[in-house]
């Protein structure tokens, strides 16, 4: 990877990212009537080097540790911070690109800028050089992560097989009511997908989704089947059982809704989170269920970042 390319990427990001993406929202604010001695305590206990001063949601000034030191040097006679704060404040709007923030920090030599809402003038947050660097690193990491996933794709298998369309399919049988073996199938799925060279994040999502589905089959039915189809762009997991069926799928999808009997709950299952967890891991989830006949889950996970 050459350096020039990296610099370009950062340059691209500073135009793409907005001040609001990098600013700190959970900031310490002070009101103008607190005393300088109290301010010292605020700065010390929060380990910050300055704070915006706000009156009725409106930014009226800013005070920094430098102002505090100056005040100490001049005798440290206690007074409201209002009389020592800087009133002509340079601010940034939350919808400005990061590059503006960088420019202003550089030009004016300030450590921080309050960020305000363009329409209302309300204080939204504060941005420092550190925040900008952190947000850039975070973005770069996401980018790198996507690249990694791309690299990890089970491409070697799919490239070695000469065909217009390649699908790998493996099947598993789940025994009902056997909690000692519950999890074995999804453990097998996890190992197999890992061996295929699929990215760990994708494998983890597939493993969790199939684990939850497997536990449902074990808990509520006399058994079922899980089939996994791997293509170069997606993994499809189909879980079929001939159990009691789900009378109300929408209700079953609600977090915390559970019909599990006491003994299953005592094992740490049946918390009513299974289907939600599956949904969270899947890019697409279809549930077909007929009461008295059985249930089929169709889970689809895309092989891209996300």
């Amino acid at each position: 990877m050459n350096n020039e390319k990296k610099i370009t990427k950062v340059q691209e990001l500073v135009y793409e990212l907005k001040v609001r993406d990098a600013m700190r929202k959970d900031i310490i604010r002070s009101s103008p009537d607190i005393l300088m001695s109290e301010l010292g305590e605020t700065l010390r206990s929060n380990r910050i080097s300055g704070t915006p001063i706000v009156e009725h949601d409106k930014l009226v000034g800013i005070i920094s540790i430098e102002d505090f030191i100056k005040w100490l040097a001049e005798g440290g006679k206690d007074c409201p911070i209002e009389s020592r704060m800087t009133r002509s404040i340079k601010t940034l709007y939350d919808d400005e690109p990061l590059v503006h923030a960088i420019g202003k920090l550089d030009k004016l030599g300030f450590g921080r800028f309050p960020v305000i809402d363009r329409a209302t003038g309300k204080l939204l947050g504060v941005i420092t050089k550190g925040d900008i660097i952190e947000s850039l690193l975070r973005e770069l990491e996401i980018d790198y992560h996507e690249e990694e996933i791309h690299r990890y794709r089970a491409s070697h298998i799919f490239e070695d097989i000469i065909a217009d369309k390649t699908i790998l399919r493996f099947e598993y049988f789940v025994k009902g009511k056997d909690f000692n073996r519950a999890g074995e199938v999804s453990s097998g799925i996890r190992k197999t997908l890992t061996r295929l060279g699929i990215h760990p994040q994708i494998v983890r999502r597939a493993a969790i989704a199939s684990y939850e589905a497997e536990i449902n089959v074990v808990s509520y039915t006399s058994g079922g089947e899980i089939s996994v189809r791997v293509q170069s762009d997606k993994i499809q997991i189909h879980v079929t059982d001939s159990g009691p069926g789900i009378p109300d799928v929408a209700q079953a999808l609600k977090p915390g809704y559970s019909t599990a009997p006491e003994w299953i709950r005592n094992l740490g299952f049946g918390a009513g989170m299974g289907l939600c967890n599956i949904k969270k891991c899947a890019d697409k989830l279809d549930i077909e269920s007929t009461v008295g006949k059985g249930t089929r889950l169709k889970i689809c996970i895309n092989m891209k970042a996300g």
Binding site: N180, A182, S187, L267, A271, M273
Partner: protein, 117 residues
């Protein structure tokens, strides 16, 4: 912090023979609901639970947890120990109940998902 250090400082009993205690513990999660752990624990977390059946190993290995600590001196089922060894998931036992154990781990610097500030 290395798992080894935590084992020493909290006087945890190490289950099994071939346990790899050299791994890094990057956080903690306490829960007895497996789905909750699957949904909310993070890779590298040390998991505090009272569940002793073998599915805890499946969950820990699926999430890439750094280890499982059983509370109240609970003894893992035989199958759990076997699975833990084959999946290379450390199982440790504490004499303490969950509340005290979590508090002491927290004091050691093991943090949860909400305090990364």
């Amino acid at each position: 912090m290395k798992l080894k250090e935590i084992v020493e400082k909290m006087s945890l009993e190490v289950i099994g023979t071939a346990t790899d205690l050299d791994r890094e513990v990057t956080g903690g999660y306490a829960s007895d609901l497996l789905s909750d752990v699957l949904a909310n624990a993070r890779e590298g977390d040390l998991w505090i639970t009272l569940q002793i059946h073998s599915n805890v190993v499946a969950v820990a290995s699926m999430k890439g947890l750094s280890g499982i600590v059983l509370i109240n001196n609970r003894e893992p089922e035989e199958d759990t120990v076997k699975k833990a060894e084959s999946e290379n998931v450390p199982i440790l036992v504490s004499k303490m109940p969950a509340f005290e154990l979590v508090g002491k781990l927290y004091a050691l610097g093991i943090k949860g998902s909400q305090d990364n500030a």
